[in-house]
């Protein structure tokens, strides 16, 4: 089965012409950080592998509430990380000093440290053969550049939306609108090339808080992705549905504990993909023997309807990029094809140690943190049924909506997902009963084996993903609505 989802080939992205502004940005990055080529070459006179990554961010975060507003610049977190291997382990130095003299001094210190380090006892040799990158410049395409609006325009635009939400019901006690825009600039250099990328992300989170005097509830709409203002447009009907749901949750009941047929909305199906066969196939987990999936390559792990993909090149996907933080060009990775586990997601170190081809999943929270194998945009591929067909098939089940968070257990293959609410369906029709909140737990192979229908819709939702509870990176998850069975409480 060929996965069905919008996915341009990498060559198309590479061939995309940069706008005049992005081309100027790329030229500036090449001019300012061109010296990193010499730094890497100098380091490699003394060590078998060296690389340099410059990363800087800039951005704006606006938060609007009743009687409270903020507008803040995001932390630029600018710096250079230098990587060197002594043939057995990787060592790094990260500095926020980006001028050539300081970087050269840091590189010399790093090389001296690496050469002095014992070759790690029993550890086998680490032979890193950089296959990428080629010389290239990339930038996120945008339809509506956030810079086309002044800050005053943005404040006014999202305050109107917020007020509309706040005034939607007499039981509303607070409404918030959070707007964010970021530009992340990267220069990666190793012995085979120099790549620049300018990734732009835009986000909008709207939350409505309601109270009946006894208890409080909320519902939210989150939009975001790589791109401009076009990725955060919220249709009025979504706002109306959010307001209705928030108020409805005041009379919602806890879901009776049990195993249910469920239809998961894209935020929930994406979280299932993310937690079930996302974290569990990050190959640094293979190296540490934490991932049960390592023993299942080529084996069936779900129904034939299950196709799970990680793809940093999905247009607009919030977790998108063009090269990872170790210089690997992005391309789609099919994790599960027709229910059979294909391969994991790699960083440089684990791919080299395991002797497997790299995927573009080496990501850092910032230059101050090391790269790990991390997801980008992870999702179920589209199926053939309509969403309505999935719902009509629920004889006695739930439509589970608005994932809030999840947690993986790559060793035990347990899964925990917390969602905001679920709607009851009987004989294919909504009963009007709302359950909130909903905790879902399950055993991953059972959850994937029970996937019985996959819809042909598709939505990537923005989020932030941690490794454990740290190393936060922008991440997309989603896909279509899916039907499966899970334990709810």
């Amino acid at each position: 089965m060929v996965p069905r989802y919008p996915m341009p080939a990498m060559t198309e992205i590479g061939a995309m012409a940069l706008t005049e502004r992005d081309a100027a940005g790329a030229a500036d990055l090449r001019s300012t950080f061109g010296f990193l080529r010499e730094v890497v070459a100098e380091m490699e006179r003394s060590v078998p592998y060296a690389a340099a990554l410059m990363r800087s961010s800039d951005g704006l975060r606006v938060d609007l509430r009743d009687r409270g507003q903020t507008a803040n610049r995001l932390d630029p977190l600018a710096g250079v990380v230098l990587t060197a291997s002594n043939g057995y382990s990787l060592e790094e130095t990260a500095t926020d000093q980006t001028d050539p003299e300081a970087v050269r001094a840091a590189a010399a210190d790093l090389v001296a440290r690496v050469r002095a380090r014992p070759t790690n006892g029993s550890a086998p040799a680490l032979e890193i053969l950089p296959e990428a990158p080629q010389d290239a410049d990339y930038a996120t395409p945008m339809q509506i550049d956030p810079a086309s609006l002044t800050l005053a325009d943005k404040l006014a635009r999202y305050e109107v939306v917020r007020r509309q939400l706040r005034e939607s019901d007499s039981r509303a006690v607070q409404a918030s609108a959070g707007y964010g825009e970021t530009l992340q600039q990267t220069v990666f250099v190793n012995r085979v090339g120099m790549v620049t990328q300018q990734v732009r992300r835009t986000t909008l989170a709207l939350i409505l808080f309601v109270s009946d005097g006894q208890q409080q509830r909320y519902d939210y709409v989150g939009r975001g992705g790589t791109g401009g203002l076009e990725v955060i447009e919220v249709p009025p009907e979504d706002l109306a549905e959010m307001a209705e749901t928030a108020v409805g949750m005041l009379t919602a009941k806890p879901v009776p504990a049990g195993v249910y047929d469920i239809v998961a909305d894209p935020s929930v199906s994406g979280t299932i993909a993310h937690e079930a066969f996302g974290h569990g196939v990050e190959t640094d987990m293979f190296l540490k023997e934490r991932a049960r999936a390592a023993h299942y390559v080529g084996q069936r792990v779900g129904s034939e309807l299950v196709n799970i993909i990680d793809d940093a090149t999905v247009p607009g996907g919030y977790g998108g990029y063009f090269i990872d933080d170790e210089g690997q060009p992005a391309s789609p990775t099919i994790i599960i094809r027709d229910g059979v586990f294909q391969r994991g997601l790699t960083d440089l170190y684990s791919a080299t140690r395991l002797g497997i081809p790299r995927s573009a999943n080496g990501r850092r929270e910032s230059v101050h943190r090391k790269a790990y194998a991390r997801m980008s945009n992870t999702f179920f591929a589209r199926g053939t049924n309509t969403r309505d067909e999935l719902l009509a098939s629920l004889d006695d089940g739930l439509l589970v909506c608005r994932a809030l968070n999840g947690m993986e257990d790559p060793k035990g293959w347990g899964i925990q997902i917390w969602t905001n609410f679920a709607r009851e369906y009987k004989h294919g029709k909504p009963t009007g009963v709302l359950y909130a909140p909903v905790a879902m737990t399950g055993y991953v192979p059972d959850v994937l084996a029970d996937v019985s229908m996959v819809a042909n819709d598709f939505q990537i939702t923005p989020g932030t993903c941690g490794k454990g509870w740290k190393e936060l990176v922008p991440n997309g998850s989603g896909g279509p609505h899916i039907k499966t069975r899970l334990r709810l409480a």
Binding site: S56, A123, F209, Q214, Q416, A439
Partner: protein, 453 residues
Amino acid sequence: MDQRIVDALRAHHGIDDWILRVERTHGVQVYLAGSDIESVRQVSREAYEVEVFNDHPAPAGTDGPATARGGATIPLARVDIENLPRILDDAVTMASLINNPPWSLAGAAAMPDVALADPRLVDAADATAAGLEAADQIRELAQRERTSGVRLSGAELFLTYCDAEIANSQGAEASSTSTRILMEVTLLARGAEDETEYFRQTESRQLADLELTETIRVGAQLARDKLGALAPRTRQGPVVISGEALNQLMSGQVTGLPGALVFQAMARTAYENLSRFELGASIYGDARPIGDLVTMRANAQRPFGVGSYRWDSDGTPAHDLLVIEDGILRARPATLRYAQYLGVPATGRPGVAEIGLGRTARADLLVDDEPVLEVLDFSAPNVEPLTGDFGMEIRVGYETGKGGRRAISGGSVTGNLFEAMANARFSAESQGFAQFAGPAAIRFESLQVAGED
């Protein structure tokens, strides 16, 4: 303090007030994959942040004062310092568009001495040596567990030293030094047919507080016990939550917000109409509490507490604040701005949540006619601070009854923290974590357990 920045802030006509914060950090990060060193990283950073305030007429049609105060927080990269005039112009433009009720900065104040730094981590070379030494100790401790089928999967140690300074336009000035350690360790246990893991991420300010020997010993035990563990029975009933699981219930680790009790008590939460607590009233609402009543302090002066500090981001001195006494809300932890809005004392960002102990021995919390579920570790902390609702998967627990004790893993415990606290008993024994210190265990009389039917 960088005088160039101070001078630029003072000279700008559009800035009515300002705060300058500086942090100089250096540290070492040691990564183990199995027992091998995967990577050693040295990290340093000098971070500046200015917060500027602009007072301007409130927009027409606004209720309240005629003047509005706008603020903008601008973190600076090193290169930004060369472009300070332009950046401050932008910051003032941002602040002039923001409309908040006026509030004022505080002037110079005496800051308490709070122990925050491990002297072993002050020097970068010493910190690197200490990090590698701790990694060796983890390897040795894990090696000792090999005879019982437990091995090290990986570990990470981040040791960071920080020099911080703050100054503001009202004359406040202070500095502090602190250290912070983050440790992550994963152990694997091998059984006849299966493998299980123990994962722990913990933070401290002193190396000694990592308690490596105890952490590895307990972790190995939990990983071993998880082999062959069963899911719990589905039921509504008593659940004892202890150890790390109780920390997960009381802390706010995933959302970045404080724990639910602290969140509900905070002045900001009240100002935003989101607090269910009222000053002087029972935190249990209309419910009549049974069992032990909650007493909670927000202690930012707790020695070597991860949530402790000398001064917060407004320059407010650290407080040790009695927040809840015998179930009654006595004070709201209030940062400067929200303290002024609500007319309560400014006590700064909440520190470590310290919950008073009970009188029942931990072992006695498990005594019952029916088997009692005790949870020691959830998969992840997951408590909604707004509603108090929680639902967490059981990583490791035990069901204790007349038939003995069996290990539990899988399934979930769900409930509402505020309702559950109204019928709970606290252990007499204590424990401490980064953001929470209090009983070693709490018995909740009625929580939903979902597992095997």
